[in-house]
Amino acid sequence: MLRKLPDPAGGVVTVIVEGRPCEVGPNDTAAAAALLAGIGHTRTSPVTGEPRAPFCMMGVCHECLMVIDGVPSRQACLVTVREGMRIDRQVGPRALQPAGADAHV
């Protein structure tokens, strides 16, 4: 059902979706990459635990939250892929990571 339109720009970028390399177009979003990789759900709800996947693909619904290059809960539909980008499911609520030494304390 999901079909990718041809990208006139062409070119290939390799991203790592849930640990597996996946070739996508240079203008694709991380959410598109996750859909193309066919991983099924892209996050689980922190409230109900239900599996969820990108829905609006335009930054509105927040269903596409994923861990991108280690940064939790990013809206994957708003992130353009980059060579080597790591795209992982956001499972449950994001963790609170200790702020770096330069953080305002």
């Binding site: 922190p46 609520p93 994001r94 609170l96 702020a99 953080a103 305002h104 304390v105």
Partner: protein
């Protein structure tokens, strides 16, 4: 919030009640509330307000259980205690003075609030790494939170179950005596009743005057920030920060003078709130803010509740307060039955607005 609690309390005692409301455009404090069920700061200067608040937090568990059983809606009540955080020695001393003063005004059982040092505080909230400015806090084991939207929803569902009629299409345009009772004119027609309780928040002044009631209300704007959802790190509300059951942290809230019912948010307020939150919990630095909004507190000149029966129009009452969420339980369980008595009982006289006359004279 105040109106719903009273209506539910009246309805469950068998009174025939209709709630005339303004619908979803109303400036409703319940919708913007932080949802604290909060004791430790209430009543400095009015001991009866401290006791009244304590009564309400004690009534809350049964109130929550009753609503859940009756309606299936959980208010998400948690009473795990709460802290007012002190950033720097000056705030710590000031807070200690306030706590001591409040304890001296009432019986020891009312607040049971104590000052704790940073180490003790950190041990109570091990998952929240405190910023180095946090030197201590006042801790009250009776404080807590509920979800104010759910609380309002539960009370409305409860009203329905106990037979209260709800008319969101009937904002009261004018009100006055009608024989032995009262008549209220609304776009949906005229409603008649033996008694009327004006609990319309910022809508009170216009109605109160028609019934010989005083409503010296001033709006105070409170803005707050809402973060994305995250793992649970706050076991209880701390220094204006609370974490909801869903994992978002609400960062509250400013106290801004406004001259009109202006609920706009400002960037300056957002910055103030974010800066203080980062001094408290530096690890929030990478957390996203997803929403910000502002609401209007309903404040009497001294910040304490007002319950008043009209002298010129016996059977007409005005009720308003800032802490509609905290006081929801006592409003349903004690204020409502008091309103059913022939006259407002003497023990509520302390909440009469005549106190502002002496305030002015003093």
């Amino acid at each position: 919030m105040v109106g719903a609690a009273i209506a539910y309390g009246l309805g469950k005692r068998g009174a025939r009640v209709v709630v005339l409301d303004e619908g979803d455009t109303a400036v409703r404090a319940a919708r913007v509330n932080l949802g604290l069920v909060w004791l430790q700061s209430k009543g400095d200067g009015m001991p009866d307000y401290g006791r009244w608040s304590r009564r309400s937090v004690d009534l809350w568990p049964a109130f929550d259980a009753e609503l859940r059983e009756l309606t299936g809606v959980a208010t998400e009540l948690e009473q795990n205690g709460g802290v007012t955080l002190c950033l720097g020695e000056e705030e710590l001393e000031e807070r200690a003075r306030t706590i001591r003063r409040m304890h001296n005004q009432v019986e020891p059982w009312v607040y049971e609030t104590e000052m704790i040092d940073r180490r003790h505080l950190q041990s109570l909230m091990p998952k929240a790494r405190l910023g180095r400015d946090v030197v201590g806090a006042s801790w009250c084991p009776h404080d807590g939170i509920s979800n104010p939207l759910r609380t309002l929803q539960a009370m409305h569902a409860g009203m329905k179950r106990v037979g209260v009629a709800y008319r969101p299409d009937a904002p009261v345009r004018s009100i006055g005596r009608d024989g032995a009772g009262f008549a209220a004119q609304t776009p949906a027609g005229t409603f008649r009743a033996a008694k009327v309780v004006v609990a319309a928040g910022h809508g009170i002044p216009a109605l109160a005057a028609q019934l010989g009631l005083q409503a010296p209300i001033r709006p105070e704007r409170g803005q707050l920030l809402v973060t994305e959802r995250m793992e649970r790190i706050l076991p209880f509300p701390a220094g204006g920060l609370r974490q909801t059951a869903d994992g978002t942290i609400m960062i509250g809230s400013t106290r801004e003078k406004v001259s009109s019912l202006d609920t706009r948010t400002t960037t300056a307020s957002a910055i103030t709130l974010a800066k203080r939150a980062l001094r408290i919990l530096p690890d929030l630095v990478d957390i996203r803010i997803v929403r910000s909004w502002a609401g209007l507190r309903v404040l009497a000149p001294d910040g304490f509740p007002v319950y008043q029966e009209s002298e010129s129009h016996p059977g007409a009452y005005a009720t308003f307060c800032h802490s509609g969420n905290t006081l929801a339980a006592v409003h349903a369980e004690e204020l409502a039955p008091a309103l059913l008595e022939p006259r407002l009982p003497d023990r509520l006289a302390v909440f009469h607005p005549r106190r502002f006359e002496t305030m002015q004279a003093a």
